[in-house]
Symmetry: C2
Subunit: 377 residues, 2 copies
């Protein structure tokens, strides 16, 4: 009997009560009934994003809100800094290029975090309209020091945009306190619901920039979206069932409390890192590891693709392989969303079983023991 | 005890087996398991769209795919004809304007259908790159004669784009046979699933135009989407649960068979029209009524807003009111998707009860009897 466990960095598991809330007969979106749900969602999104500003909601993948950030903030010919230390940082550059924005890319070695001083230096040349960063780079498991970057950017005219698709609701992201101008996120990671919703929290500084914007846009028009959400409405038919699921999921998060949520993720990620070390495996990013997903290097002589495939197909434990140049060279275990200590223990115990079968030499049980130690703390 | 019946033109009811398919634990999208589902979905979408070409799938409202059609086919400064005889026709004009496209709008009186000869005449001036139309204008319940328009457009260099968000899977739309270049649709109407997915079927003639396109785009980039779907993949995280629901819904549609589906909708819409007449009510569009949604004029002295509200809040029967200038002046009953004769009978019997309470004079039961006659045929 194979039971399925999802430890991938998006989609992440959806709580049964959330799944069931979405399985109820559909309701119309222009009703007091749905409006009440949307109001609760908006309030709890503000709590989660730690912002007093409106959180815009789009029916799309997270990338839709990323595109929205670019085409609402930047006009053709504008200059922007993009931090690319992985697949999702590169996406900022791609979107800027699609809109005729001059992307000044800061290339960061995969597995390393950007040095805020490098951003500061690039900003000092002037004329930079925006800085695009990533809270947690899913492809490498690297956490960016957004707080430090915000300190740098807030002194300038530029706006700071953070892709928090991966990790919002898992790690700390103090939108207003740190001074982030646009936080973009998605539904299928820390928010514990299926993919199909994207979000954008927008600061007053960013709204001023948006007012002057000249890029073409329609579906992802932030102004249109703001005008609607202020009336607890959406400009287009919303993804009703996903918003109903989101309402249920946000209530679970709020009941646990953001501090506890963040602490839980910290502990899970630490357990995964300690297990890796106990198994003699190397972390891709020992110094800047995110608490949302951990990238671990595949040991010499082990087939990384086969490792991931065996765990999934023979044991039902879904983890992720590497992307691009890291294909076959790393594997990634998420600690994000609806997961707790036993999910981590399952993932590590399965990893041990499969590594053992593949001939990797280590002390069986050492990884699980290391996680238990962390969870006992 | 109030039971809820949804007779609105989107969202429409979702079959319980579809709801339950979406309530299963979520799976990852980069797995053979999901790829099999996506392959089945793609095959059945081709059946439903009646096309041999790829059907692109987007995680968005239908409007997203409309924007995609504009920004993939037209470059700034291009000229396009938009047919606007309602709220959704007007949307084509709005999107064209957002992208710097010169929209030559054909204004059609709300409740009337466009005369294909008018399009022919506008096309003869040359330099028109695209014609944007609506299969069923949800705001008025008007059906457009797409087949006749396609005859006209196919003789020119222009491409024909049809917004079939409302009515695909309910009325005839022979994409390849009629020669439509782009058919855009959404998930929450004839396709019987919740909102959040959009589609675009694209002809070889349209792909040639897309190749030359210069408008900025990223998330709705048709070429990127095509490249992915050819490998049974998606460029961005798909709305996994909605695609799983779509797979279940398309199987239901395919089992019933498209001819039977169309015949069922024809009969339901006829029953609604006959009921309206039997109750002494006037159709907004006696000559060009769609089989997907019927707009009925509110009788003199009756408060249209109150009628719709009373049916919904006191009886659980959701129908739609009028939009824009028709607010309070019409009400709309859908016959679209997961509905049959008894849904129509419920809607009409409830309409009679509420009209009676509101003091409207008619023979109680006459509407229901008229529907029964149609269903007996």
């Amino acid at each position: 009997m194979i039971k399925n466990y999802l430890m991938t960095p998006g989609p992440t598991p959806v709580p049964p009560e959330v799944l069931l809330s979405m399985a109820k007969p559909i309701i119309h979106h222009r009703t007091p009934q749905f409006q009440k749900i949307l109001q609760e969602v908006e309030e709890n999104l503000k709590y989660l994003f730690q912002t007093a500003n409106n959180v815009l909601i789009f029916a799309s993948s997270g990338t839709g809100a990323m595109e929205g950030a670019v085409c609402n903030l930047l006009s053709p010919g504008d200059k922007a800094i993009t931090v690319q230390g992985g697949k999702f940082g590169e996406r900022w550059t791609e979107i800027c290029k699609a809109y005729g924005v001059e992307a000044i890319a800061i290339d960061v070695e995969w597995g390393k975090a950007v040095d805020p001083k490098v951003i500061e230096k690039k900003l000092s040349t002037g004329a930079i309209k925006a800085v695009f960063t990533t809270l947690c780079e899913t492809s490498t498991g690297v956490a960016t020091d957004i707080k430090a970057i915000a300190e740098v950017v807030k002194k300038t005219e530029a706006v700071l945009v953070v892709d928090a698709i991966s990790a919002l609701g898992a790690v700390e992201c103090k939108t207003d306190e740190w001074g982030i101008d646009v936080v973009v996120s998605g539904s299928q990671k820390g928010l514990m619901i299926p993919p199909g919703l994207a979000f954008a929290a927008v600061s007053p500084k960013a709204w001023k920039v948006i007012e002057q914007n000249k890029s073409p846009k329609y579906y992802f028009d932030f102004k249109k979206s703001k005008k609607s959400i202020e009336k607890t409405d959406t400009p287009f038919t919303p993804a009703i069932s996903l918003i109903i699921g989101l309402n249920a999921a946000l209530k679970i998060l709020r009941q646990e409390g953001l501090d506890s949520v963040v602490a839980r993720h910290k502990q899970m990620a630490k357990a995964i890192r300690e297990a890796a070390k106990a198994l003699g495996l190397e972390l891709l990013s020992p110094t800047a590891a995110s608490d949302a997903v951990t990238a671990i290097k595949v040991a010499q002589g082990i087939d990384g693709g086969k490792l991931v495939k065996t765990m999934r197909d023979e044991y039902g434990v879904g983890i992720a392989g590497g992307q691009a140049d890291f294909k076959g060279k790393i594997f990634r275990i998420a600690s994000m969303g609806y997961m707790n200590q036993f999910d981590v223990i399952i993932a590590i115990s399965c990893l041990e079983i499969v590594l053992s079968r593949m001939g990797y030499k280590f002390e069986l049980g050492a990884g699980v023991k290391a996680t238990q130690k962390v969870f006992l703390d």
